[in-house]
């Protein structure tokens, strides 16, 4: 067997910090061959980035590393400075997790690329610029010449990721490492970006190491996957097998935590990853594992072949599972949940929100004519791409931004008509759970204080407040010892529970969730989703659940609205919208949603990806520029929501679309 491009052997990394040590990696072994795409998956803190950094010799200062990271036979850990500089970029190059943050803000992206080209490909200035232009074109940047002179902050997230990829490939590396390249990107873009890596492996013969916590999205492009847990490799093998029929309980837990557009229920695994104070001497997953035995807690399971499986499929478990991953059917809908007959607790009529630009004229219309109703006991899902106005809608509901036009009524009272104390009273009727749980807790207030905040506004005595706070903590399964802690002492999942407790404290009529799980890890997300599902079941309360991830909405919304550029493009019962999308945009969203299963079952369509230049839409349908079915009338006529069966959609061509699709996928 000739040398692999990359072969990591028994790599352990201990990071020493004043007063503590972190065993970030413990005996990791993996390899990447030329032309191969290897996925590295696992929970946050599992050590994925540490693996990436060790490959380019960028372990944090104060680390102790043992084992070997062989790149084309040479050990990266023991390279001298010169060799390391040659290896970096040219041997292996990383695409960083947060492309916008990883591009130097004070240098044009063109210069950043030519820096790489001149360093590694020995091009002269002029040649480099030409090459850079081509490189940009290759990664799918439109008008590349113009973009060469752009600064990173002028780029959209997708474009920045493309630039990052071009920088990494510009170094002409043998191995391309992508650390979470699609986190924070829209579903539509994610596909496209991942395709680039597959392409790099297929056409240029590079090895690719694709790091992600999002199993579903990388499932399609990887040849093999490696699953990391607590700094150890728990399972590794061909992608289709590992993801289709995982053998390690952790892999299985991971997979079941992921919501899917096909509507299967999420199964949460309790507990959290252990703190990595020292290299584990037992199975690190044992405390959370349903199958754990005494052996699991006393001994570290050796890496072994998956019994009976052909190919390169290994795992580290005493009790490998061989059965099919149980596919629980969608949880039986509690009947009578649809509270259509009930009083609406929240009504929005033709609301417009305009963000004034800082200096006088103009402004940005973030919401244009949105109307909706939420009844008690009902959950309304809101989905849409980034920037479509989801958070703005949430703020509008909470009265944090004023409506330029239109009206918000909570429990029958118009928000805009109230002032001062009465407004504050009304505000407590709507409560929100924020996207960033830690950030939405005041760093200098204790958990108990945070939860008690709405109670304080209601004028409860300290004793009553303490009582209620403890009750809420119990309800959300928060240990009472947590109450005295400060936010930075909480994990993301705990913080989000605190936030939900706070939202519930004042017994509001409406709960608004703005992407409550998007900042959380997969398994934690599953836990929080369970909590939320429990909370929204309360018949006295209406809920609004906002997410860019269609799969999570599907889990517990009764009705769903789809937002696009501040407008509602489709609205209806969740099964109907997801099962039979009327609007081309909804269909496109569903089409690109990643799925481990079959995903969206109907005919798929894909939109022209980048949104940035099309936003300045004319008078017509805002989607016209990206829509495969748009005709001239679409470009000139404003679209209104019209009823189609159970749902309403803002597209005049809905009746024609099934014919236009003719059962086949459309790509523009």
């Amino acid at each position: 067997m000739d040398t692999d491009l990359l072969s990591i052997e028994d790599l352990s990394v201990v990071i020493r910090r004043p007063g503590r040590e972190v065993a970030a990696l413990s005996g990791v072994t993996l390899r990447v061959g030329r032309g191969e795409v290897v996925g590295l998956v696992g929970e946050s803190g599992g050590g994925k980035s540490m693996v990436a950094r060790s490959i380019v010799g960028l372990l944090p200062g104060g680390s102790l590393a043992s084992g070997a990271v062989r790149f084309e036979g040479d050990d990266v850990l023991r390279m001298d400075d010169d060799a390391l500089r040659r290896h970096r970029g040219h041997g292996a190059a990383i695409c960083f997790q947060n492309p916008r943050g990883a591009l130097s803000p004070t240098r044009t992206v063109g210069r950043q690329l030519t820096d790489r080209l001149t360093t590694h490909q020995r091009l002269t200035g002029a040649e480099a610029r030409k090459a850079a232009e081509e490189q940009f074109a290759t990664v799918g940047i439109r008008s590349p010449r113009r973009r060469l002179d752009a600064y990173p902050h002028e780029l959209s997230g997708g474009m920045a990721q493309r630039v990052m990829i071009s920088l990494a490939t510009g170094c002409a590396p043998g191995l391309l490492i992508a650390d979470e390249p699609t986190t924070g990107l829209d579903v539509t873009l994610t596909r496209e970006i991942l395709r680039r890596f597959r392409l790099a492996a297929d056409t240029d013969g590079r090895g690719v190491l694709l790091i992600s916590h999002d199993l579903a999205s990388i499932a399609g492009v990887c040849d093999r996957v490696v699953v990391l847990y607590a700094g150890t490799v728990v399972e590794s093998g061909p992608a289709a097998r590992v993801l289709g029929r995982p053998a390690h309980p952790y892999t299985r837990a991971l997979l079941r935590s992921v919501p899917d557009v096909d509507g299967r229920a999420v199964v949460a695994t309790p507990g959290a990853m252990p703190l990595l104070k020292a290299a584990p001497r037992d199975c690190p997953f044992a405390p959370r594992c349903a199958h754990a035995t005494a052996a699991c807690t006393s001994e570290r399971p050796p890496v072994s072949w998956v019994p009976g499986a052909a190919g390169d499929w290994t795992l580290a478990c005493f009790h490998p599972r061989t059965d099919e991953l149980a596919r629980e059917e969608p949880a039986a809908e509690s009947s009578g949940r649809g509270g259509a007959a009930k009083e609406p607790v929240l009504e929005v009529d033709d609301a417009h929100v305009v963000y004034r630009s800082r200096f006088g004229t103009g402004g940005h219309a973030a919401l244009r004519g949105v109307s909706l109703r939420v009844a008690a006991g009902e959950t309304l899902g809101v989905v849409g791409e980034s920037g479509c106005g989801k958070s703005t809608l949430a703020k509008l509901l909470l009265g944090l931004v004023p409506a330029a036009r239109g009206d918000v009524r909570v429990a029958g009272s118009r928000m805009s008509a109230l002032r001062g104390r009465e407004l504050r009273r009304l505000r407590t009727r709507v409560q929100m759970v924020f996207q960033d749980p830690i950030g939405s807790l005041s760093p200098r207030r204790t958990v108990a204080d945070a939860i008690a905040e709405p109670l304080r506004a209601l004028g409860l005595s300290a004793a009553r407040r303490a009582e209620r706070v403890e009750a809420l903590a119990d309800r959300l399964k928060l240990d009472r010892s947590m109450l005295a802690r400060h936010p930075h002492e909480l994990s993301g999942g705990q913080a989000q529970r605190v936030c939900i407790a706070r939202a519930l404290a004042g017994e509001p009529d409406v709960l608004v969730f703005d992407e409550p799980t998007s900042a959380l890890d997969v398994t934690v997300q599953a836990q929080i989703l369970e909590v939320i599902a429990d909370v929204v079941r309360d018949p006295a309360r209406g809920s609004v659940f906002i997410s860019h991830d269609l799969a999570t909405v599907r889990g517990f919304a009764d009705r769903v609205i789809v937002l696009y550029l501040g407008r509602i493009v489709e609205e209806g019962p969740v099964e109907e919208v997801f099962g039979n999308p009327r609007h081309p945009y909804t269909r496109a969203l569903l089409s690109s949603a990643p799925s481990l299963g079959d995903g969206f079952s109907g005919p798929k369509i894909t939109l022209t990806e980048d949104l940035d230049d099309t936003e300045a839409a004319g008078p017509g349908c805002p989607l016209a520029a990206r829509c495969p079915f748009a005709d001239d009338r679409c470009r000139t006529e404003e679209q209104e929501l019209r009823p189609y069966g159970n749902t309403r959609a803002a597209c005049r061509r809905v009746p024609e679309i099934p014919d236009l699709l003719k059962g086949s996928d459309i790509r523009v």
Binding site: L58, G89, T119, Y151, E154
Partner: protein, 336 residues
């Protein structure tokens, strides 16, 4: 053009600030105890003499009238006549501002260069002995009263070592310098007067050193902090991970990003130095703006006080404006 619009908008914003300064100073000098007229009359003057002198300077008018007169003068660029010297305040400022500016600008330039060089060096050697040493030295410099430091430097540099000219005057009078701007070094350069240039430079070294030593610490601290931040930032790590050479890293990825934060601090330091050169000027017999303003204040020379505060305020706001522009040039993210 964007920048022109920005400048116009900012300049318009200056108007209320400067107007505020004008009103406040005008009232303040008059609220202060002390009579500007008595000090020019000598002890034998009678009340009638004083009244006559007061009338000469329009100080007998109602205060609103005086203020309107003053504003009217300002609009036409007339800063009034000094009560103490009887000459036009504008002309005196012309003489005094040059030397002080020369001092402050050079001191700040030296301090900036030192701060950037040492700050970046310190950051790259963070937490080693050299880094600690540099920072401590800067702090010690920052912890000395400037007049005290100046005296010591004179004692050592002039009296003991004899390396520097006597601390009187700013340029050797025999060098026959033709004054143009009042900044002697600049004038010497403009008139190609070699001896005067040398002499002016020799006279400048100690006071510039004094001022720079005193102001370098905050600048250095800021440079070091932002350099450290850049060194630990993702873009820099990314560039390192892509194997760029040390020089490219330094020039393309470290320096500019580091400097982007410096202008506003530099402006602040500049602003405070203009106000506080008065001590350095005293010690080095510099006869610049600070001494002039202080004397005006002690003698309640109303027009001088008003003009000096206005000039300082004007410099202050203009320097901040310049800093904003420089920052925008350095940091493309800054919208102006």
């Amino acid at each position: 053009m964007r920048i022109v619009r920005f400048l116009v908008r900012r300049l318009l914003q200056l108007v209320p600030v400067l107007l505020g300064v004008v009103v406040l100073t005008f009232l303040l000098v008059r609220v202060l105890p002390g009579d500007p007229i008595r000090t020019i009359l000598g002890p034998n003057a009678t009340p009638e003499d004083a009244a006559a002198a007061r009338a000469r300077y329009g100080l007998d008018q109602p205060i609103v009238h005086q203020f309107l007169d003053y504003l009217g003068g300002l609009v036409t660029g007339d800063l009034g006549t000094s009560i103490q010297s009887g000459t036009s305040v504008g002309a005196e400022i012309g003489l005094r501002v040059g030397p002080t500016f020369e001092l402050v600008v050079l001191a700040l330039a030296v301090a900036l260069v030192v701060a950037v060089l040492l700050g970046v060096w310190s950051a790259r050697h963070a937490d080693r002995a050299g880094d600690h040493g540099v920072r401590l030295l800067a702090l010690v410099g920052n912890s000395m009263p400037e007049f005290w430091l100046g005296l010591v430097l004179i004692l050592v540099g002039y009296s003991v070592l004899g390396w520097f000219p006597a601390p009187s005057g700013r340029v050797d009078p025999d060098a026959n310098l033709t004054p143009l701007t009042g900044a002697d070094l600049l004038d010497a350069a403009l008139t190609l007067n070699g001896p005067a240039f040398g002499s002016a430079l020799a006279h400048l070294i100690l006071p510039v050193a004094t001022l720079s030593i005193v102001v370098v610490a905050p600048l250095l601290r800021s440079v070091r902090a932002s350099a450290l931040e850049v060194l630990h930032s993702e873009p820099y790590v990314a560039a390192t991970a892509h194997g760029l050479s040390g020089r490219t890293l330094l020039r393309g990825y470290l320096l500019r990003a580091t400097l982007a934060r410096l202008p506003s601090l530099a402006a602040l330091v500049f602003g405070t130095s203009i106000g506080s050169t008065v001590l350095v000027e005293y010690v080095f017999s510099w006869q610049g703006f600070g001494q002039w303003a202080l004397r005006g204040l002690l003698y309640r020379d109303y027009p001088v006080v008003q003009a000096s505060v206005l000039v300082i305020a004007f410099c202050y706001v203009v320097v901040f404006l310049v800093a904003d522009v420089v920052q925008a040039v350095l940091d493309p993210r800054v919208q102006i």
